[in-house]
Amino acid sequence: MSISVKNVTKRFGSFLALDNVSLEVPAGELLALLGPSGSGKTTLLRIVSGLEVPDAGAVFYQDEDVTDAAVRERNVGFVFQHYALFRHMTVFDNIGFGLRVRGRPKAKIRERVRELLHLVQLEGLEQSLPAQLSGGQRQRVALARALAAEPKVLLLDEPFGALDAKVRQELRTWLRRLHDEIHVTSVFVTHDQEEAFEVADRVVIMNKGRIEQIGSPGEIFEHPANPFVMDFLGNVNVFHGSVQAGRAHLGSMEVSYPEYPHDESRAATAFIRSHELEILRAKNGRPSLEVKVTHVNPARPVVKVRVYSEAFGVVLNVDVPWDRYAELRLQVGDTVYVAPRQVRLFVQEYTI
């Protein structure tokens, strides 16, 4: 069942939570809504589910307009950040709830709950109460409960937000596998980009009630649409400079930028990811900056080096592969040169 959201706007008082947002989710896709808090991602999810009603715009499941349909009529599975399990019911009753309120026969319910317990790997815990389960188990019960009535779409609101790092990692992998098994159209909200990129088929990056970019994890990482996305993805060094006649000037560095051939000089922001910077012992003719090493952190798969450029007045983060690090023999206080392998430039819109 595909989902389409058309020109949806939602306000809470004077706060514009969603600003004319449109989104297509093809059937069977696992989509992540990613953004900082207050970006409108949860509001969008709640509007898709019917828990929230948009001020303007429409929501379609396949070709059916469900904008005004109640949650109950939409048959969605919703997983909440804090599980929202029924605390006085056993795991069995929790999972069977959706079937029970639909008046399914007892034998059918029992059979389906068995099936789901197997799916979420919680066999043997059917008589436990939520309070007796761990966080990861509770979230799996919540997922089984959401799936019980065979929903057309599965919606997850920061499903792993309340779990610790290790369990989160396990559940992430598990969710991806589960989705590959059952193929229900799913949308999940997260503020953790690693989670979004690892689990989802496509990622929607949101900011201030608008969609900044939609694409596969690879597309977004390789071709960030704008400075916000670039900055949000993190691990990046930001330079402020200018562009003119096909050249970008970033302090003492000059790189070619043929996309801007005009004679008029304009302010531009350059983003260089920390792994796209190379440390050199001596200048080699490529555009580079003279910097001083201020900090070395070798406790990672790559060595994290922090350097300071006096001319520019900025601190840069550089990732150095281990073999290169051994070659360079970097010490704090050394004067070295950093050269960018790749620069992403965003020319500012003309403003007076």
Binding site: S49, F86, V101, A131, A146
Partner: protein, 186 residues
């Protein structure tokens, strides 16, 4: 608000609303309905004075529980009454029962409000405290004391039930708090 209003004022207020000369008086008379000086009047007066007791018991409990489970139930397709019966009531049952017992105690002891609206029709619009007063006024000491003893006994029974339930609700609240606190753990 009803907590701070004197029961006699409540009685008077009901009299002004539903009495013969009251706002709804003519309409009630036209439909041959009796509220004041009849059974419905006693019930209304008692509800008015006991209502805050149960509200004060349930509001903090429900606030502590939050609406997450209700929202989840709605997302799973529950209708209004299913939601109430299967999710809300089981979560507040001890608090509700505790409230009912307090209400009962308050109703048993209520004098002022029912005194005003009852009209003292013996055997028809009587409550136990009203009857005790009447017996006492008629110098029927044995009768008054006997009934008063029954009331006192009921009070003791209520106290016992209340204490048991208090202990139960406190345990339940503690459990809720614990569940919320451990929600983030694996």
């Amino acid at each position: 608000m009803p907590f701070t209003v004197s029961p006699v004022v409540v009685g008077l207020f009901l009299l002004l609303l539903f009495g013969m000369q009251g706002i709804f008086g003519p309409w009630l008379r036209a439909h041959d309905l009796k509220v004041v000086f009849a059974y419905p009047g006693l019930v209304l007066a008692t509800i008015f004075v006991t209502f805050p007791v149960i509200a004060r018991e349930l509001i903090p409990l429900m606030e502590a529980l939050g609406s997450e489970e209700e929202i989840a139930a709605v997302s799973l397709g529950a209708r209004g009454w299913q939601l109430f019966r299967l999710v809300t009531v089981p979560n507040i049952k001890w608090g509700l029962l505790y409230g009912v017992i307090l209400c009962n105690a308050r109703a048993m002891g209520e004098f002022g409000a029912v005194y005003v609206v009852s009209g003292h029709i013996a055997g028809q619009t009587d409550t136990m405290p009203l009857r005790v007063e009447k017996l006492f006024q008629e110098y029927n000491m044995p009768g008054a004391f006997a009934l008063a003893s029954v009331l006192a006994l009921l009070a003791l029974l209520t106290l016992l039930l209340k204490t048991t339930l208090e202990w139960k609700t406190r345990r339940e609240l503690a459990e809720n708090a614990r569940m919320l606190a451990t929600g983030g753990e694996a």
